[in-house]
Symmetry: C2
Subunit: 199 residues, 2 copies
Amino acid sequence: MPTLDFWFDFASTYAYPAAMRIGPLAAEAGVTVRFRPFLLGPIFKAQGWDTSPFNVSEAKGRHMWRDLERLCADLALPFRRPQPFPQASLLPARVALIGFEAGWCEAFCRAVFHAEFAEGRRIDDAAVIGGILEGLNLGAQAILEAAQTDGNKHQLRRQTDEAPRLGIFGSPTFIASDGELFWGNDRLERAVRWAQRGR
Amino acid sequence: MPTLDFWFDFASTYAYPAAMRIGPLAAEAGVTVRFRPFLLGPIFKAQGWDTSPFNVSEAKGRHMWRDLERLCADLALPFRRPQPFPQASLLPARVALIGFEAGWCEAFCRAVFHAEFAEGRRIDDAAVIGGILEGLNLGAQAILEAAQTDGNKHQLRRQTDEAPRLGIFGSPTFIASDGELFWGNDRLERAVRWAQRGR
């Protein structure tokens, strides 16, 4: 089965609709999706930004929030603007890596995006993340501990370092198995088609 | 008839497919389009950039060229990467303002984008711009002179100053008569629909 890698930072606004849409779209096309969380921070720092570009440029940020609101309305996705923005995404990214190995990564990621962008909850709060794990009938305590081991922390650093080497500069990014890269929720359909047909 | 303002810099890559698509889409929807050229330079300078953001970030630029190539192939639009990039857009922007008053603005703008992105010609060359005007059966000499009068130069400065006041931070941008703003070629259909229905 062809595969498509879905690279995202949990703090990324357009990763929210992408995470909610990618599963059904890929299933319909017979494409396997791999959720690859990483941290955008180092990429933004290399550009000289210490926050999201949507905070760096006020006009760009204003448009993004309005655009996301319109987009979510079109998709019938509930939407609430996270406070603060961007959320610190380190903890859910570490937990998602455990889920990648264990097979519950996508369900967990969708639940985190829902908590963040539909309910306005803080995703850097271990109680919130633990509650999400419980909601998925997973043992929260053991998973939160596994997420904070040195080995798992290192694994996230490795994945974060890998992103720019693959040409990634933002989130969400989709990469087909031949290396073809698509940036942005607007390119999701195109990326799935590419993964399916190899062009 | 509802109107939609199409704000763009002639050097902007995604303004090329937008300029080629907007006329037919708007006509079908019963929407009148106004072509509003402006210069992105001052907006980029305010962000600390002295060139296109696609030159500032190499990874972002690499994706954009590949994305534009894929996009133009989908749309059956010929595509050649302009050299140098970005092109200096001052001269065609000034000429387009004359065309706005005289009613040949859209035809001229489409021809400039074609010269730049399909033929790889330099749009800062008065001979190229003059040739485009001749191709439209317009008096090139008189128009080029009118474009370089102080009054017309001032008009472009005014339009360029107006852009950030309207919330514009990039090109292409579409603004409906109620002020609703859409950024990017990807939002063209949505913008036309908004202009048509007021939502």
